[in-house]
Subunit: 151 residues, 2 copies
């Protein structure tokens, strides 16, 4: 399956968050072309500031595999990871990260050091590949709708 297929699945997770009044972010961990774990933001439900979609999906993936590393895994997430999730992805040694929409306010790129060309420093495992912009419009629109309703 291709990246759009899995990003659509992550979007369905984000919609679940939206439907219960959570900031709509969803994540999927894929391993050998199989969905290993899912997660959607549950910060309000759990009253836990660390219950981001990525953290939930990663912890579920570790548990499913019985391993603290995910070198063959790909994490799809609808919105650019924050600093915490970026750190968690670093420790997981995940094979690939694919995110949809950029997040200039809370995304990790705002905080991590830059290279000479002002690109963010690669803080993930050296072997981790990174892609972004997949279904960015849809991922971003869900966030915009959410915050517009709450204004």
């Amino acid at each position: 399956m291709n990246d759009e297929y899995y990003m659509k699945m992550a979007l369905r997770e984000a919609q679940k968050a939206y439907d219960i009044g959570e900031v709509p972010v969803g994540a999927i961990v894929v391993w050998n072309d199989k969905v290993l774990a899912r997660g959607h933001n549950q910060v309000e439900l759990l009253k836990d500031a660390t219950a981001h979609a990525e953290m939930i999906a990663l912890t579920a993936a570790f548990s499913e595999l019985g391993s603290k590393y995910l070198p063959e895994g790909t994490l799809y997430v609808t919105v650019e990871p924050c600093l915490m999730c970026c750190g968690a992805l670093h420790w997981s040694k995940i094979g690939r990260i694919v995110y949809g929409a950029r997040d200039d306010k809370n995304g990790y790129r705002r905080y991590v050091k830059e290279n000479g060309d002002h690109s963010p420093m690669h803080v993930f495992h050296p072997k981790t590949k990174l892609n972004f912009g997949i279904l960015a419009e849809e991922c971003s629109q869900l966030m915009k709708d959410f915050f517009r309703e709450r204004r």
Copy 2:
């Protein structure tokens, strides 16, 4: 009670990690001079790369208070937080962070942007106070002992 008192308590948590073969880091969350939550590193035990002492202590504190914010709380941790834990502390809006030993390899200061004077950018909540170096020698020695044994 003073910072040394609580850092000794965090060191006892770190010793628990040491005793079960985990990288020896311990954390305590204090609220109004009462210990609200404790945590020690359990990455190997849980096979979960996110099970750092700070994450466990924060999640326990959120659960204990039924709140996703800890503005009156202080987190004591024996070693400088990593990028993930730094991000989690940001979201928690914790009142104060006190760490013992610096961690030049995995500590957040290695990755976060710097100010003009090369000090790390303040990535925590604007009201979060930061102190470090409390019982640094003891906190660092436990780490050194752990890694020496494993070489």
